[in-house]
Symmetry: C2
């Protein structure tokens, strides 16, 4: 099966779990849940859930066990986008081609929708009925460390503080490692966990190496797409450029940046080479490298 | 020992755990952690941690086991205050007599500090080294349900939506039950959990009844204090009145409101009557009723 088709099928599974998890019958709080659903259903690529699903499959785990973790990953990813788009942060009016959450529901509700999704993610992971309490506890720790103030939130802090006179390449790498890399690594590790292989050092090392390399390549390609494509094509406003964000293109030419992404992609493929059934993860790495949006 | 002295000692214990948990050695992200620490160390009453500690003690649990849960409760409480104070929410410049987080550190960092504390709370609870993975998993579920979009965040949503033409008393009760009551109940239940009594239906019912009654009384007294005291006395700006917030005084006289709080306090005391060693929780209920700030 083509990797795009695999991703579509996996996204549908994640979306089914999310749709069920995000239903709410209480009319008094519907606007909050509408805002949460609106943002989750914005048509993201569901890369993090797919990584969890693919690593779970690679190591022989069952799909039902990984899906609540996949849904939790997407809730946290969506919360980060909602808060990142706020006027006091990146001030983005558009997200995935639609009005961002605060444009659609107001700023206060966008703060709450983000808070709600973040908190709910931990409930989803901790309550996974197909896993043991011990596995769920490990999942919560992985998610909290990746998303928290030494992970993704720390990356956001570095983003805020980036207006240094002479930004260093190491600063950029660290920002990405924290801001996007930590959750991508977490996604792969949750797949390993759901497959019951979290005690297998070789499996953990392979998932970590794959995710770190793919995550870095992903960010480089993002920077290249922002650079080469217009606002209409990406569905995002050109705020990164407008805000003079630190990107890979501050340190290298577009050609060199692409070569860098190629090297990372090869690294990712090598990491999973020893494992039978690695073809879908290999295709995913190539697909993410060659994507045009 | 007087209850005030008990609370002070318990707050010191909680603060020790928080101080250790909130230390950060990475200079690149210090501003974020400064903002988190600033808000946590703002001199709150530490009522939620105390409730957890007192219920743990009542049911014979060890102090070290409950303290990580107590710290997690305070992190979540502090995050809720930071986000609640934001310009797009209650727009409060003062919190506990000092500049609120966004006044001191800017709006973007206040959003991140809140996000960071919320996420970190789950890591603290999930990583409690003195409890089993199963207990920690249960603690995470309790915290996430109480703080999440069917708990505290739902209460915030009702606060946003409260500008109805004829607000009902039931709306006010439900808002408080979600916005403050859920986390207060959670605090008591975490104490029961840390004492290893979460499977004891009588203990859970008593903690729930006590916390619900004390939580309601607490809110009524808050409304009365806002009504009778000036901005300087409470350390909060008079924003509740300014924003025309829904309070108990919309539905009853100050005298009737106080009687209502007395009844709730008696309810709370009755709930723990069967248990030996209930004197400190009895004193706490009376102390919260008669507090002047």
């Amino acid at each position: 099966m083509e990797i795009q088709k695999v991703l579509e099928t996996m996204a549908e599974k994640t979306d089914q779990v999310l749709a069920k998890a995000l239903s709410c019958q209480d009319p008094d709080i519907l606007p909050l849940w509408d805002a949460m659903r609106y943002s989750v259903q914005g048509g993201g690529k569901r890369i993090r859930p797919a990584l969890a699903q693919l690593f779970c499959r690679l190591f022989g785990g069952s799909e039902e066990k990984v899906l609540p973790y996949a849904a939790a990953l997407e809730c946290i990813h969506t919360y980060s986008l909602i808060h990142d788009d706020l006027p006091c942060m990146d001030d983005d009016d558009l997200r995935r081609g639609r009005p961002s959450c605060h444009k659609q529901f107001g700023e206060a509700r966008a703060v709450l929708a983000g808070d709600g999704l973040l908190t709910y993610a931990f409930e989803l992971a901790a309550s996974n009925p197909y896993a043991t309490a011990s596995d769920n506890n490990r999942a919560v720790i992985l998610l909290a460390q990746a998303a928290g103030p030494l992970g993704m939130v720390a990356g956001q802090e570095m983003d805020l503080a980036e207006k240094q006179p002479t930004p260093a390449f190491e600063w950029l790498l660290k920002t990405h490692r924290l801001k996007t890399g930590a959750m991508i690594r977490c996604a792969a590790l949750l797949g390993v966990l759901a497959a019951g292989k979290y005690d297998d050092a070789q499996a953990v090392a392979a998932a970590t190496a794959y995710a770190d390399a793919v995550g870095l390549a992903f960010q480089i390609i993002d920077d290249l797409l922002d650079y080469t494509e217009s606002e209409a094509d990406t569905g995002k406003s050109a705020s990164d450029e407008a805000n003079d964000k630190l990107t890979f293109l501050r340190f290298m030419s577009p050609g060199d940046a692409f070569d860098f992404a190629v090297c990372q992609t090869v690294e990712a493929m090598r990491a999973i080479l020893p494992f039978e059934g690695n073809d879908q993860l290999t295709c995913l790495a190539r697909y993410l490298l060659l994507r045009t949006k």
